[in-house]
């Protein structure tokens, strides 16, 4: 089971990273979401997998490690907040920059536009 689990985590990571490397904000957000699934599963797995061992006193004979679960919960919430911000930022970028490309459709940065002599005289 562990091997399959690890394979899935790796695959999710790979898919997430591939999408993050695309140029469009939506793909990036989807990629980040996939990556955060992978992260959550990974962090969860750091407490090792156990079956029928929910960390609720009296409900199981043995308990899985509750700490990574709590960490993943925190990570999920934070991930949600971050994703939400990124999504709206992507909208804003589309509105402001006229493109949903993560680099926008701006003119090249002013550094290039500056006169070659750098203005020293």
């Amino acid at each position: 089971m562990e091997g399959m689990y690890a394979f899935c985590v790796g695959l999710l990571t790979a898919c997430g990273i591939f999408l993050i490397l695309r140029g469009r904000s939506f793909s990036v957000v989807v990629g980040l979401t996939l990556l955060s699934y992978a992260v959550n599963l990974f962090l969860f797995a750091s407490g090792r997998l156990k079956l029928n061992a929910a960390a609720v006193l009296g409900e199981s004979e043995q308990y899985s490690d509750p700490l990574p679960q709590a960490l993943v919960l925190t990570a999920i919430v934070i991930g949600f907040a971050m994703t939400a911000f990124a999504v709206i930022l992507a909208m804003r970028a589309r509105a402001d920059l006229g493109s949903d490309h993560v680099d926008g459709a701006l003119a090249p940065p002013s550094r290039d536009a500056a006169p070659k002599n750098g203005g020293s005289r």
């Binding site: 797995a45 750091s46 960490l71 930022l89 680099d103 550094r111």
Partner: protein, 503 residues
């Protein structure tokens, strides 16, 4: 005073919340008053904490009454109180500056500022590595929101890059944390420091992987090459007080590197001792180099100061790479200096840019400034400080770093880079200063905005820090040495930080 350790976190949180609730939330004026009061309180708390730690030693504050390593503990040690004090001072200046009018142009400026300060202070104070992650996220999300304050295309684009890169960074952080928890089984940094020494063989190898992942994350925050790309645009496009506050943000990354790679993976980490050093060396040196190249290529003050932030990051990373008590002490001094000086320059850039019309802060011919003497004086001060020329604090930091090199090889790598970096900065600043202040068409325009008293006070405070750091350089250097000693000798005091663990 037993709760003093948590004040630097709770005060901004409390005031941030107050500002979200009516009646304060309805009026900008009330928010400003709140903000200034909060800034002042945080500063006072930080100073009190500083003196308390200086006199009584390290304070461990076990949140929820759960003894570390089981609960989260705040650790007020010399390093963290130093960082918190710098943050508090910087934040106070930034608040002063922003209440003069930069807080307009968008909602929630002051609450966000509070949360940002809370996040930064929390990151410095916490003794728990997952809690460090949480505070990283607080300061990051607040910085995202502050970055887009007052809007504009440049900001949106910069934010896009900044946010996404940091989201990737956060994912890596969690991977790293997962590995470390999966091998060490604990989250308290002192406990990790103890447990890491007994790791052996393949578990140690796995832990090393996690530790190196964290280095990438901290490096990203600290703008370590090749992860520095986000910085110039982000800092240059942010509203002045925000950019000034950001000056401490890269330092959070630096701080974390010192914290993690001297305390946990330091000398006494057994198989994992000093694992970051071989990676830090090349990247730190290249960071200085690329920062210096950026400095010379900078077309405006803001980008110049952003590139200087990269250079200072590189210098600090070099200190981390040297990995000795002296280098850490040097780094801490340099960190305080460079944070305040570059923050001052960011604010100054705004004042200058507002008086130069379309030229803004670019190094081109422009109209005459309204207050050339005042601004010129300020500019000269921050330039001297940042170049590292006497009589201002930069030279002390620089010399301390130079003195901290140990082997000939280190000297041969570091000295030329640092010194040439200084020269490049000197050239850049002399070009900048002469162009900004002397190359004008003589026209004065009436509508140009005069620097307001609060703004001048804020800049003045930040710039004043530099000479003070020199005049009181002796005690300052002594303190940083003390902090560095503590950091490098953590194994001896680790059990004091862990009341819940018996030897």
């Amino acid at each position: 005073m037993q709760h003093l350790s948590i004040f630097p976190i709770l005060i901004p949180l409390f005031f941030g919340v107050i500002m979200l609730l009516p009646p304060v939330s309805r009026q900008l004026k009330a928010q400003r008053i709140c903000s200034v009061i909060a800034g002042f309180c945080v500063f006072v708390a930080a100073i009190l904490l500083f003196t308390q730690v200086s006199s009584q030693g390290v304070i461990v504050y076990a949140l929820g009454g759960w003894q570390p390593p089981f609960g989260i503990a705040l650790v007020a040690d010399p390093l963290s109180v130093l960082m918190v004090s710098v943050t508090a001072f910087l934040a106070f200046a930034v608040i002063l500056y922003s209440v003069a009018g930069q807080d307009k142009g968008g909602a929630y400026f002051h609450p966000l500022l509070m949360f940002q300060v809370m996040g930064i202070n929390g990151a410095f104070m916490t003794g728990d590595i997952f809690n460090l992650f949480v505070f990283f996220e607080i300061l990051l999300i607040a910085s995202y929101a502050l970055l887009i304050h007052a809007g504009g295309k440049q900001k949106t684009q910069a934010a896009m890059h900044y946010v996404i890169l940091n989201l990737v960074g956060s994912s890596l952080f969690l991977f790293g944390l997962g590995i470390l928890y999966g091998t060490l089984g604990t989250l308290n940094m002192a406990d990790m420091a103890i447990k890491v020494g007994s790791l052996q063989g393949e578990t140690a190898t796995l832990a090393k992987t996690g530790a190196l992942l964290l280095l990438v994350v901290f490096g990203l925050k600290a703008a370590m090459l090749p992860m520095h790309f986000w910085l110039p645009k982000t800092y240059a496009s942010a509203t002045a007080p925000v950019a000034a506050l950001f000056a401490i943000m890269t330092k959070v990354g630096i701080y974390s590197i010192f914290r993690v790679y001297t305390v946990i993976f330091g000398e006494q980490a057994g198989e994992l001792a000093n694992i970051a050093t071989p990676w830090l060396w090349p990247m730190a040196l290249l960071t200085i180099a690329i920062g210096s190249i950026g400095v010379i290529a900078s077309p405006s003050i803001r980008i110049l100061s952003a590139n200087l932030v990269i250079v200072s990051s590189g210098s600090l990373l070099v200190c981390a790479a040297i990995n000795s008590i002296e280098s850490t002490a040097a780094a801490l001094y340099y960190l305080v200096h460079s944070t305040l000086a570059s923050a001052g320059l960011f604010l100054l850039a705004d004042l200058i840019s507002r008086q130069r019309g379309k030229a803004e802060d670019r190094f081109v011919h422009s109209r005459l400034m309204k207050q050339p003497k005042l601004l010129g004086f300020g500019f000269a001060i921050s330039a001297l400080a940042l170049i590292g020329m006497p009589p201002l604090s930069g030279f002390v930091g620089k010399i301390m770093i130079l003195q901290a090199t140990q082997s000939i090889a280190e000297t041969l790598w570091i000295w030329p880079l640092l010194l040439i970096g200084s020269l490049v900065t000197l050239v850049a600043f002399s070009r900048a200063g002469t162009t900004l202040f002397w190359r004008h068409n003589g026209n004065e325009v009436d509508e140009a905005e005069i620097a307001k008293p609060a703004e001048i006070l804020a800049v003045g405070l930040l710039l004043l820090a530099s000479p003070l750091l020199v005049i009181f350089g002796g005690s300052m250097a002594e303190f940083t040495l003390h902090a560095a000693n503590y950091l490098h000798d953590i194994q001896r005091s680790a059990y004091d930080l862990l009341p819940g663990v018996t030897r």
